[in-house]
């Protein structure tokens, strides 16, 4: 078996590949559905309905996609500079903590000030937090995959302590959760009777901004260069250290913004289960988007759609709802291959 780069890359082929991939994923999961004693066809109809079939479904899909866009961007930027930040989950919570810390005071601030303030502060906190493993990498050559990964657990335990101890909301009748942020800190809901909130818009704007930043600014240029080859960038006289630090600040900041958006957009207060692994899924999203900020939007929407759809399908046909994660995983893997085959062709011998 041999792989060969394709000369021409057609958009049509890309679309086709995606459909084939999803089709394949469906085929695989159909087996599980059959096992559950339901009809696959019906299942997939329901899945579509659950993801996009109604105003509510759409709102949920978009709500789900929102944090994924942020964490996806975080991973995309870092990975471009070959800074393997697996700590999105931790930075997510750092952002959320910041939002609570600042969002529970300052009732006087109007929303128009409060919300940008929270995002900025959260992003800063997340960025600074990622600097720790970054410096460990650049100064002491400690593998950042590991440190960022481990720090996720530390942060989660820290949050755990916060909500059990100092930040515990006296009004919560003993349940471990922080006090809610003030109303002016809450992101306005964009569709009545849904959870779809301003965070999505902010996420999309950020994605566009990051895309533009990477493509059209000298800093973006440096990030891409350092990512491709540190030795060459150094030789060319680029500020390698500063660039890596900037990357860390941006990446950590974006992941933290996911936390802020989720906290101020959906929950309103901090709990230890604010994120069902958004940080990790972000990495997947980034790769689906081929590390392209605009691609990240698509990746996030895709993952959200599959998950929401499959989850609601599982309820509709009354089959164990773990199938939602299975479906997401399988489609993720098959889409990965599909994207690959749009740039490579497989030859025998």
């Amino acid at each position: 078996m041999r792989l060969e780069i394709r000369e021409n890359r057609s958009f049509l082929r890309l679309i086709a590949a995606l459909f084939i991939a999803v089709g394949f994923a469906m085929a695989v999961c159909s087996v599980l559905i059959l096992w559950g004693g339901a009809s696959p066809v019906e299942g997939w109809m329901l899945m579509f309905k659950g993801a996009l079939g109604s105003r509510f479904a759409v709102s949920e899909t978009l709500t789900r996609a929102t944090p994924l866009i942020f964490t996806g961007l975080a991973a995309a930027v870092a990975f471009r500079a070959k800074l393997w930040n697996i700590g999105g989950e931790g930075q997510f919570y750092v952002g959320a903590c910041m939002a609570v810390f600042l969002g529970t005071r300052g009732e006087t601030l109007p929303a128009i000030v409060m919300i940008p303030w929270l995002f900025t502060a959260g992003a800063l906190a997340g960025g600074l937090f990622l600097l720790v493993p970054t410096f460990l990498k650049t100064r002491l050559n400690v593998d950042e995959v590991v440190t960022t990964l481990l720090l996720n657990f530390v942060v989660l335990l820290f949050v755990n302590w916060l909500v059990f101890g100092p930040w515990k909301d006296p009004m919560a009748m003993g349940w471990p959760q922080s006090a809610p942020v003030v109303d002016t800190a809450m992101l306005p809901v964009l569709m009545a009777k849904t959870r779809f909130h301003l965070g999505f818009i902010i996420a999309v704007v950020s994605a566009v901004f990051v895309w533009w930043f990477m493509a059209y600014t000298t800093w973006g240029f440096e990030i891409r260069a350092v990512g491709s080859s540190i030795t060459a960038s150094t030789f060319a006289g680029m500020p390698v250290g500063a660039t890596i630090v900037r990357t860390a600040l941006i990446s950590g900041g974006l992941a933290a913004m996911a936390g802020v958006s989720e906290l101020c957009g959906v929950k309103g207060y901090l709990t230890t289960d604010l994120s069902p692994g958004f940080g990790y899924t972000g990495i997947v999203v980034a790769m689906l988007g081929a590390l392209n900020p605009l691609g990240v939007i698509a990746g996030a929407l895709f993952v959200a759609m599959i998950y929401i759809g499959a989850d609601s399908m599982s309820r509709a046909i009354n089959i164990s709802n773990y199938i939602a994660d299975v479906t997401t995983a399988v489609s993720l893997l098959s889409v990965l291959v599909a994207l690959f085959l749009t740039t490579y062709r497989i030859r025998r011998g």
Binding site: W175, K193, D273, P276, D311
Partner: protein
């Protein structure tokens, strides 16, 4: 009377005994043909609200689940679907018109077990292993400790939290650690502790489900504080059927007086426990049921005393 549609929404897998308890009650009701029962498990709090709405849209009549940590949003949903009855585990009070709340209050049987443990310990040292120090757990620990102290002021306690709801191997290790420090009785809030007791040849007390039978605690688990959701669930179901469901606190229905909580049988320990203690337990139980003895509900985090 016609069947009604009931949905259970659980934030943990249904092996997680807390949810298992709700699930079993509803399952029984459905087996008895009273209801059509569907459920979703391990629904993260992020997804919980969506699931709530979906079931509401699907036209279920009663939803049983947990609002812990998402109370606010759950209430929003309840308001949006006045036609649906909600019976939710929650630390907050009920909300008109359609949101009733419950919580687990098996502290009374825990108190009784405490009394037993207090008399049975030789080393005067008792160990307790729990998941997280949340109110629901703390109140059981504290009641158990109070019970033990009431019969044996000299008794001391070791308290550990494993920081997870389902990591039995870890719970087991924590239990071992406590045994090393000399405890000869374990209070098993988490799965895994009973196994440690069995292997170390000491006694244990069960929690929520009958561990003597269900977690092969034969010869190990003296008794368990049982939580029966059936009274609460059945009441809710019948009220919904009669169209009389209203917002109320089901606490009473999860306590001993109404059979929501109970002390399990002693099984093979029947004859090992001396008559005087048995009778003492029995009359305390009577007093509790009669309301003459109020076991304090103390949600503060318990601490080791040695």
């Amino acid at each position: 009377s016609p069947k009604i549609k009931v949905a259970g929404i659980y934030t943990q897998p249904i092996q997680q005994k807390w949810d298992a308890c709700l699930h079993k009650a509803l399952q029984k009701a459905s087996d008895q043909g009273k209801i059509d029962y569907v459920y979703s498990e391990k629904v993260s709090n992020t997804d919980y609200i969506r699931v709530l709405r979906e079931y509401a849209e699907k036209g279920v009549d009663l939803v049983v689940g947990e609002a812990f940590g998402i109370s606010r949003d759950v209430r929003k949903v309840a308001r949006d679907y006045p036609g649906v009855a909600y019976l939710m585990g929650d630390t907050f009070g009920p909300e008109n018109p359609n949101l009733s709340v419950f919580d687990n209050y098996i502290h009374e049987p825990c108190y009784l077990m405490g009394m037993l443990a207090g008399t049975m310990t030789q080393t005067n040292k008792i160990g307790m292993v729990g998941g997280y120090p949340i109110g629901e757990v703390n109140r059981l620990f504290n009641a158990f400790m109070a019970g033990a102290k009431s019969v044996n002021p000299g008794v001391e306690f070791k308290v550990s939290f494993i920081g997870s709801w389902y990591d039995p191997p870890k719970a087991k290790e924590f239990a071992y650690a406590q045994v090393e420090s000399g405890v000869d009785i374990l209070y098993a809030e988490r799965a895994g502790v009973v196994d440690a007791a069995r292997e170390k040849g000491i006694l244990a007390f069960g929690n929520v489900n009958d561990m003597n039978k269900e977690e092969n605690g034969e010869g190990v688990v003296v008794a368990s504080a049982l939580w029966h959701m059936d009274p609460a669930v059945n009441r809710a179901i019948s009220l919904v059927k009669e169209g009389k469901f209203k917002a109320e606190d089901y606490r009473a229905w999860t306590m001993m007086a109404k059979g929501g909580a109970a002390l399990s049988g002693f099984y093979e320990f029947e004859e090992k426990i001396s008559a005087p203690i048995k009778s003492k337990i029995a009359e305390t139980e009577k007093a509790i049921k009669a309301g003459d003895l109020i076991v304090e509900i103390n949600d503060t985090e318990p601490k080791s005393t040695f």
